[in-house]
Symmetry: C2
Subunit: 329 residues, 2 copies
């Protein structure tokens, strides 16, 4: 049992109100009294009880983060940005993994709300907003990252997916490629669809023919990329391919290497998401780099501002990406 505010008050010869006020700097306390209280606190090694504080004030100073895959480097890097901002503001971070499962996602959201988190950052696996909307209560500000369910009018931080992919495919076209494969992620996600749109638009704006058979839907994991590359190689005559996420890029290249396909001579590749590893692959990978930590920081920033002053209107931030040219295209 740790010491309570009452003990501190007694030992310092003041009321609990005064102790509370010196802790929170919430009303004036004479310097002499203040110092005495502080001394007693350090002497007793007093730490305020968090649960009591929360129960009374209805403020937890913790935010909940719901993620589809915490071991994916993209998200991890976002977490780092979030943690940084939160730490600086004295907030705690609660993390939940969903494995892209909407039911699990809903469970985590509910639990976080029962904990009265100050806000939630959510990379949702829901296709439509209605699936999760009933579980998002009004009092808990929520900001979405990376993907956004259809029909959601919410605060949202992501990147310019369409523009990014448009640029990458444009690069392929400039290089003279005519058959450009596309390996996309889980199809219901907005991020996937935006990336697809970037691909389509780039093809359409060129004199090339859009060929649906060059598009392969993966599962956003290693396996999906591997299989997609396999299918694309067997069934089409592509000379270039764009892969819409990091894990799938590794999978696709793994297959290509197994088949002794030369990159970029036989097949040129551009992947999504950067990582130090991409510098030492064979060949070094050209990728679209997302400002991952910034996504996290911005999300945390918006969320905290919402929890202080409720939003009048929702905001979206689409951060710019960067095409990093190495040797795979």
């Amino acid at each position: 049992m740790s010491t309570s505010i009452r003990e501190v008050a007694r030992k310092a010869g003041v009321s609990t109100a005064t102790v509370s006020h010196v802790i929170n700097e919430t009303r004036f306390v004479a310097e002499k009294t203040r110092q005495r209280v502080i001394d007693v606190m350090t002497e007793l090694d007093y730490t305020p009880n968090f649960a009591a504080k929360t129960l009374r004030s209805q403020k937890t100073f913790t935010i909940g983060l719901v993620l589809p895959d915490i071991s994916n480097h993209f998200f991890t890097s976002v977490v780092k940005g979030i943690e940084q901002h939160l730490d600086q503001k004295g907030y705690q971070l609660l993390v939940g993994n969903t494995d892209e499962n909407v039911d699990v996602e809903i469970e985590k959201i509910k639990t976080f709300q029962a904990q009265q988190v100050s806000g939630i950052i959510l990379a949702s696996s829901a296709e439509n907003y209605e699936e999760i909307e009933p579980y998002l209560n009004q009092e808990t500000p929520t900001v979405f990252i990376d993907r956004i369910p259809h029909g959601a009018n919410v605060d949202y931080i992501a990147v310019e997916n369409e523009k990014a992919v448009y640029g990458a495919v444009q690069r392929f076209i400039d290089l003279g490629h005519q058959q450009i494969g596309m390996i996309t992620g889980i199809s219901k996600l907005s991020s996937t669809q935006e990336r697809m749109n970037g691909y389509r638009r780039a093809i359409e704006h060129s004199q090339l023919q859009l060929d649906e058979s060059l598009i392969y839907t993966g599962d956003s994991k290693f396996e999906g990329g591997y299989k997609a590359a396999q299918q694309l190689l067997k069934n089409t005559g592509i000379t270039a391919m764009f892969v819409a996420n990091n894990l799938m890029t590794i999978g696709a290249i793994t297959y290509l290497k197994e088949q002794k396909v030369k990159i970029p001579e036989d097949i040129a590749i551009i992947g999504f998401d950067d990582y130090e590893w991409a510098k030492i692959t064979d060949p070094p990978l050209s990728v679209i780099k997302q400002p991952t930590e910034e996504i996290g920081e911005k999300a945390a920033e918006i969320l905290l501002s919402r929890s202080h002053v409720p939003a009048l209107e929702t905001e979206s931030f689409l951060l710019p990406t960067k095409l990093i040219q190495r040797s795979s295209c």
Copy 2:
């Protein structure tokens, strides 16, 4: 303001005690009453207030995780294991990043304890146990992972570092290498020292001469690996090198590639930590693979068992590693 247990009780025509008992299944309630209470709860969409529960019961069902670098894939993968186990047991996960800073680490520990977490999982950056021991209170079970401060007699989950590196260096020796470089991590960490010992022992047990100039201490980050490789190449005649963590491995190889050093012909390499990426590097990387998710799961398991039944004696688990042979040696 969400509905309270009192409202539920009133609407169901029972006492708060009964409601509490149906929620927690903590004493018998007649089926009819039980059903009525449940109906009212769903009708009102009632969720117990977490803070009140915690304040009263002194149980949070959340555990705190303190990590040096949440964006390092090794830790991320450990987190996944932890989350999995915790989720299954209905526990929450609070995460804190320290950037290898002991002061930050202490802050996080203190905060977690103020929150009365049920336990802490700690990858400490402290060299000696005394640095953090004063902040670890008796009531909060703590299990250490990956590294352990000197002089700590605590629950601990890690891998057989010494044995792992011994095996890797042995492999180099079997291959005929005589000048084997070693790039180690932050020197105060137990994991670093154990890996160093594996290197030393392997050299000593062979007919080779231990040459301290072949050992270079990095910072466990990309930069450290890069610089270490640079120094080793300039100043020594190594034909092989062991790199004691994943980020440094990438750094070292990046430098080697810049210098057009051929791997493994000019320099053979074995790294620490596996990742899908390692399959597609140039050349595919031979590495020591740690059972990362298992480390997390085991840590969570031990921690929860401790929080139910205090430990009589501390336990250590050193999980086995695996040398994965690809083409870099």
